[in-house]
Amino acid sequence: MVEAWRGETLHIAITDCKGRFIRYKIVDPSFHNWTALEVVLRNELIYNFPLCNKSFNLSYCGHDL
């Protein structure tokens, strides 16, 4: 686990009995923070969206890592 922008980046590796990788998953802060952005925007006006969106600076690609 390492400190990244606005949260932690987590690398999880699952290995089999011989030590080979079965699954490797990376979770970056965007994964949690997209939900936070949703909450922030609720019942707000549309012109607040760009400001909030860019303040969070979330990754579009990393979300589903």
Binding site: S59, Y60, C61, G62, D64
Partner: protein, 250 residues
């Protein structure tokens, strides 16, 4: 103010002339594969990480819809049967045209006149990253900068599927993004086009064997344009888009 004008004059026009070949491709760039007859020793097939090489009549065939251009195949080939040209014009309208073999019987990619009529002067794209790694996305994004200036051809990325004519998909379509992608597709007004960018979106790419991905777009929608590469060069993407709307021919 004067210093700004001075800087502008010094910098000159930074936009690349396109489709003129006046811009340099990277030194290690790999484009269209050229395949010669070979003894089918299967070394390339074994080493290929994405199994894009298969046997054909006189030798092998390479599916650049899967290929990640890792160059392992031509490094391992003792006969020198595999080579890659330094050309960026790789985009095709049909999936079968992405498969290169010794025979090279390509179907003529016919320009859809209706697409030219409707979208020829204005094509707005909605980009969906369905589990992409940001490589294809970055190469699409760069097309909006002054260097490439895609806007001069009337092509632009828009912020909502409601404003878009086409959906541009990158990434192998992860299960988590399946619904979001469907919703975006449904939100587009008809007539709509589907454009796939990168090996992942076309065939699943390096994630093809994963249980978490749905391996490309073809299963869901009729694809109008395939832009192969891992990631494709911005020139490949721009050439594909211009070919689709009939601004350039082969």
């Amino acid at each position: 103010m004067l210093s700004i004008i001075k800087t502008r004059l010094k910098q000159g026009c930074r936009t690349i002339k396109f489709p003129d070949r006046g811009f340099p491709l990277p030194k290690n760039y790999l484009g269209k594969p050229v395949i010669k007859k070979c003894s089918k020793c299967q070394k390339c097939q074994t080493i290929c990480p994405v199994s894009c090489i298969s046997e054909s009549n006189n030798g092998i065939s390479i599916d650049i819809g899967k290929c990640i251009f890792c160059r392992k195949c031509f490094q391992v080939c003792e006969e020198g049967a595999i080579q890659f040209e330094k050309t960026y014009e790789l985009a095709e309208f049909s999936r079968s045209n992405l498969i290169y073999s010794t025979e090279m019987k390509k179907q003529e990619s016919l320009l859809n006149k209706e697409i030219k009529r409707v979208f020829g002067r204005s094509l707005k794209l909605r980009q969906v990253s369905a589990g992409g790694c940001n490589a294809c996305e970055a190469d699409c994004n760069v097309l909006e900068t002054v260097g490439w200036d895609m806007g001069r051809f009337g092509i632009q990325f828009v912020a909502s599927p409601r404003h878009a004519d086409a959906i541009l998909i990158t990434g192998p379509i992860t299960k988590n993004m399946e619904l979001a992608l469907k919703k975006t597709y449904d939100a587009l007004a008809s007539p709509k086009l589907v454009i796939t960018v990168g090996a992942c979106a076309i065939s699943g790419g390096i994630f093809a064997e994963s249980s978490e991905v749905l391996c490309g777009v073809k299963k869901f929608y009729n694809v109008d344009l395939y832009i192969p590469g891992c990631p494709p060069h911005p020139a490949t993407i721009l050439h594909g888009l211009l070919k689709l709307i009939g601004k350039i021919s082969e």
